[in-house]
C-alpha cells in the first residue's frame, strides 16, 4: 500500500520512468528542492541555478515551485503584478472573435475531471488575459496556438501572474510568431533541417526528398508543444525547460525528436503526406529527460549562430533571437521574494499590497492535475478563507473544485 502511494507520487512528477530506485530518487529530489530553495533566497537570485534545475532531470518538480521559479526566469516581480483585466478588455479588439473561438474549443487543455462550470470560468479568464496582453502591446498579433501557451500559464500560476508572464514571453520568446505574418515563424522553422543535416545527413536527405517541409513542427514551436501533448505534466516539464532556455530551443527539441525517431522515419514511404503524418504525431511516451539533455547538447554543439552561417539563415532578423541576450542579462539582478515583498510594502501602495494578497491566493488556486489532494488541502482552504469580498462566487467555485481535483502543493517538502 505504501509502495503504491509512493509510485503514484512519483508518476506525478514525471520522473521515475524506468523504475529506478526510489530511495535514490528521493535523495536526488530532496537535494534538488534544497538547491532551488537556496537559489530563490540568494540575493540576487541565483538565476543560473534556477535555469539549470529547470532543464535538468524532472524539471521544476511541482507547481508550487513553478509559481516561484517561473516568474524569476522571466524577471517578474510577483508583488507587482498587472491588475485583473477590466470588463472593457473585450471591447473592440480585432482578434476578439478568433480568440473566443479558439478558447471555447480548447476544452482538452483543462484537467479531465474539471466540472464545466469551473472550466468556463477559467476559459473566460483565458480570453481576458490574452486580450489584455494584446491590448498592452498593439504591435503583437494573435495567432492560433497562442491560447495553448496562455492556458498553461493560467493553470499553473493564476490570472494575474499569467498576464505578467504571457506579456514577457510575447515580447521575447514568442515575439517572432506575433508578427502580422508568419514569415518570421517560417524563418525560425528553417533552423530545423540544418540541425538534422549536421547530425544525420542521411535522414536529412530522406526528408528533403520526401518534401515534407517543416510544418509538422509548427504547432510544436509556437505552442511549446502545449497543443500536441495530452499529458499536462509533460507540457509542464517542457515549459520549465523552455522558460529557462534560448528561444530557439523548441526547434532543437524538434530536431531531437525527429532524430529519436530516425528509424521509423526512414522506414516510411518517402512521401510528403506519409512523413508529415508520421512526424506530426508525437508519441506520447517520449523520454523527455533524455531528449532535453540531447537538445542541450545539440545546442552547444551547433549553436544558432553556426547554423545560421552554414545554412545562410542570417538574412532575416529574428527579434526573439536578437533580444535574447539583453533579456537574459536583465534577469541577473533580481531580488529574492522576501526582499521584494518588503520593498513593495515599504512603498506603501495599497494597490500593490492588495495585489500581493491576491496573487498569493490565485497562486494557490489552480494547481497540478491528477494528484490526490492530500496535505495541501488546508492551504487551499486558508486561501479561500482569505478571499476578499470582491472576488465573486465563481472564483470560490474554482477554489472548491481545486480541492476536488487537487493542486499538488507538496508542502511537506518544505
Amino acid at each position: 500500500m505504501k509502495r503504491l502511494k509512493k509510485k503514484k507520487q512519483n508518476a506525478g512528477f514525471g520522473v521515475n520512468e524506468n523504475g529506478a530506485s526510489t530511495r535514490e530518487q528521493d535523495y536526488g529530489r530532496k537535494q534538488k528542492l534544497a538547491e532551488i530553495h537556496q537559489a530563490l533566497i540568494s540575493d540576487p537570485v541565483d538565476i543560473e541555478t534556477l535555469r539549470r534545475t529547470a532543464a535538468s532531470k524532472g524539471g521544476l518538480l511541482t507547481d508550487e515551485l513553478r509559481r516561484k521559479v517561473w516568474p524569476k526566469l522571466l524577471n517578474i516581480n510577483v508583488y507587482d503584478l498587472p491588475h485583473k483585466p477590466g470588463r472593457n478588455v473585450r471591447e473592440d479588439h480585432k482578434d476578439y472573435n478568433q480568440v473566443v473561438l479558439d478558447v471555447r474549443r480548447s476544452m482538452k487543455r483543462f484537467p479531465k475531471g474539471m466540472p464545466a462550470l469551473e472550466r468556463t470560468v477559467l476559459q473566460d479568464q483565458l480570453i481576458d488575459i490574452i486580450l489584455q496582453v494584446l491590448k498592452r502591446n498593439p504591435q503583437l498579433h494573435y495567432y492560433q496556438g497562442y491560447h495553448d501557451v496562455a492556458v498553461t500559464l493560467l493553470l499553473v500560476a493564476g490570472e494575474r501572474m499569467a498576464i505578467a508572464m504571457l506579456d514577457t514571453l510575447s515580447k521575447f520568446h514568442l515575439r517572432d510568431f506575433m508578427d502580422p505574418t508568419m514569415d518570421s515563424t517560417k524563418h525560425i522553422l528553417n533552423y530545423l533541417m540544418p540541425i538534422l543535416e549536421q547530425v544525420d545527413p542521411e535522414l536529412h536527405d530522406f526528408m528533403i526528398r520526401s518534401e515534407v517541409g517543416t510544418i509538422f513542427a509548427l504547432s510544436w514551436l509556437i505552442t511549446w508543444y502545449g497543443h500536441v501533448l495530452s499529458e499536462f505534466k509533460h507540457t509542464l516539464r517542457l515549459y520549465d525547460f523552455f522558460l529557462a532556455s534560448h528561444p530557439l530551443m523548441p526547434i532543437y527539441l524538434a530536431a531531437t525528436i525527429v532524430l529519436h525517431r530516425e528509424k521509423e522515419v526512414k522506414q516510411t514511404e518517402c512521401d510528403m503526406a506519409m512523413v508529415h503524418h508520421l512526424l506530426s504525431r508525437i508519441p506520447q511516451d517520449l523520454p523527455y529527460d533524455l531528449l532535453i539533455a540531447q537538445s542541450l547538447q545539440l545546442f552547444s554543439q551547433y549553436p544558432p549562430s553556426l547554423l545560421a552561417k552554414r545554412a545562410a539563415l542570417q538574412s532575416r532578423k529574428s527579434l526573439s533571437i536578437s533580444t535574447f541576450h539583453a533579456f537574459q542579462l536583465s534577469t541577473l539582478h533580481q531580488r529574492p521574494d522576501s526582499v521584494l515583498q518588503r520593498l513593495t510594502k515599504a512603498q506603501g501602495s495599497t494597490t500593490s499590497r492588495h495585489a500581493s494578497q491576491r496573487s498569493g491566493l490565485e497562486a494557490a488556486l489552480p494547481g497540478g492535475r491528477g494528484q490526490l489532494w492530500g496535505k495541501g488541502n488546508r492551504m487551499v482552504k486558508m486561501a479561500v478563507w482569505g478571499l476578499s469580498a470582491t472576488l465573486g462566487a465563481a472564483v470560490f467555485a474554482v477554489a472548491q473544485t481545486a480541492m476536488d481535483w487537487g493542486p499538488d502543493m507538496l508542502l511537506q517538502l518544505f
Partner: protein, 329 residues
C-alpha cells in the same frame, strides 16, 4: 494547360449531362430525384489525425480503427464542368504500414492504391475539421481544437471496384497561417472543397478571398471544386440563404452542397435517402476524380518506401504548379 471552360462543357461519360448546379443542390436536398448510382461501397474506414492534436477531436492521440460501415454511398453523378482535366500527380503507393485498418494491411492487398488529395479551405470555425473528421471517422467529433498549420485525414474507399485513398487536407483558417505556411500543401492537390458556415455571413463573404487564394496557387477552375455550406442543423440561425449561395456557386461554376457535419441526416442537413450526406459530398468528389483519366501518374520523389512507378513522372518538384494541366486538351 488550357482547359475547357464551363460553356464548353463536355462529359466523360461518368458525370451526368445537363444537370445544372441547381440540380446538384436539389439532389441533395431531396427536391429533385435520383441520388445517383453509387458505386461507393465502403469496405473500411481509417482515420488518423496528423497533428497530434490538433484536431483530432475526441481522442487526441488515438487512432480510430475502421468502423467497417458497409453499404452504398449516395454518390451522385454531378455535372461535368470541365472534363478535359488530367489529374496529375496522383501518388501510387504500394505500402501502407502507416494506416492501420487500411485495406493494404488487410487481406485484400491491392497492388497499388491511388490517392486523391482534396484540400479543404474556408474561414476559421466553419467546421472544416468536423467535416473531414465526419467523413474519415464516421462521426461528429465531440471536441475539436484550432487547427494549427495543416492536418490530414485519410480514408480508403472502394469506387467501382477500385480501392482509392481519399486524403483530406484540413487547413488552418486563420489568415496569417496561410500566406507563408499552407502554400506547400496546395501542391499536387486534386480537388478543392470550399467551406462556409450558413450561420455566419462573414464566412460566406470570405469566399472570394479563398477562391483567389486557390488561383494564386495555380489551382484554376479545371480542378474540381465544390462549395459546402455547413451547420445546416442550426436552422434557426441561418444567415446565408440557399438562393444567395446557389447564385454564388453558379457564378463560380461550382456545385453547392448544404449540410451539417453534426447531423448530416437531419432535414436541414439535406439528406439523400438514409445515407450520410457528408459522405456523399466527398464521395461525389472522389467519383469525379476517378472519372478523370489519370494520364500521368507520379510517384513520390525518391520512392524508397516501396512505391511503384507506373509511368513517367511529370512532377517537377519544388514547383507548385505541377500537374493540373492537361496536355491533351
Amino acid at each position: 494547360m488550357n482547359c475547357i471552360s464551363r460553356e464548353e462543357t463536355c462529359t466523360d461519360g461518368t458525370w451526368l449531362h445537363g444537370l445544372t448546379a441547381v440540380d446538384w443542390e436539389g439532389l441533395f436536398r431531396g427536391k429533385h430525384r435520383e441520388c445517383s448510382d453509387s458505386s461507393g461501397t465502403f469496405r473500411e474506414r481509417s482515420d488518423f489525425t496528423v497533428s497530434q492534436s490538433g484536431d483530432d477531436p475526441a481522442q487526441a492521440h488515438s487512432r480510430f480503427p475502421g468502423s467497417a460501415r458497409l453499404g452504398p454511398a449516395a454518390a451522385p453523378r454531378p455535372v461535368c464542368r470541365c472534363v478535359c482535366v488530367c489529374v496529375c500527380g496522383m501518388a501510387v503507393s504500394g505500402s501502407s504500414v502507416e494506416f492501420p485498418g487500411s485495406l493494404t494491411s488487410s487481406s485484400l492487398p491491392p497492388p497499388r492504391t491511388r490517392i486523391f488529395k482534396i484540400i479543404v479551405i474556408g474561414d476559421s470555425g466553419v467546421g472544416k475539421t468536423c467535416l473531414t473528421y465526419r467523413f474519415c471517422a464516421g462521426k461528429f467529433p465531440e471536441k475539436t481544437e484550432a487547427t494549427i498549420g495543416v492536418d490530414f485525414r485519410e480514408r480508403l474507399v472502394d469506387i467501382d471496384g477500385e480501392s482509392i485513398k481519399i486524403q483530406l487536407w484540413d487547413t488552418a483558417g486563420q489568415e496569417r497561417f496561410r500566406k507563408s505556411m499552407v502554400q506547400h500543401y496546395y501542391r499536387n492537390v486534386h480537388a478543392v472543397v470550399f467551406v462556409y458556415d450558413v450561420t455566419n455571413a462573414a464566412s460566406f463573404r470570405s469566399l472570394p478571398a479563398w477562391i483567389e487564394e486557390c488561383k494564386q496557387h495555380a489551382l484554376g477552375t479545371e480542378v474540381p471544386r465544390i462549395l459546402v455550406g455547413n451547420k445546416c442543423d442550426l436552422q434557426d440561425s441561418v444567415q446565408v440563404g440557399t438562393d444567395v449561395a446557389q447564385q454564388f456557386a453558379d457564378a463560380h461554376s461550382m456545385p453547392l452542397f448544404e449540410t451539417s457535419a453534426k447531423n448530416p441526416n437531419s432535414p436541414g442537413g439535406g439528406s439523400c435517402g438514409n445515407s450520410d450526406h457528408v459522405e456523399a459530398i466527398f464521395m461525389t468528389v472522389a467519383h469525379k476524380l476517378k472519372s478523370q483519366k489519370p494520364l500521368v501518374l507520379s510517384q513520390p520523389p525518391g520512392g524508397s518506401g516501396g512505391t511503384i512507378n507506373l509511368s513517367r513522372v511529370m512532377n517537377d518538384r519544388g514547383e507548385g504548379n505541377t500537374g493540373w494541366g492537361c496536355s491533351s486538351c
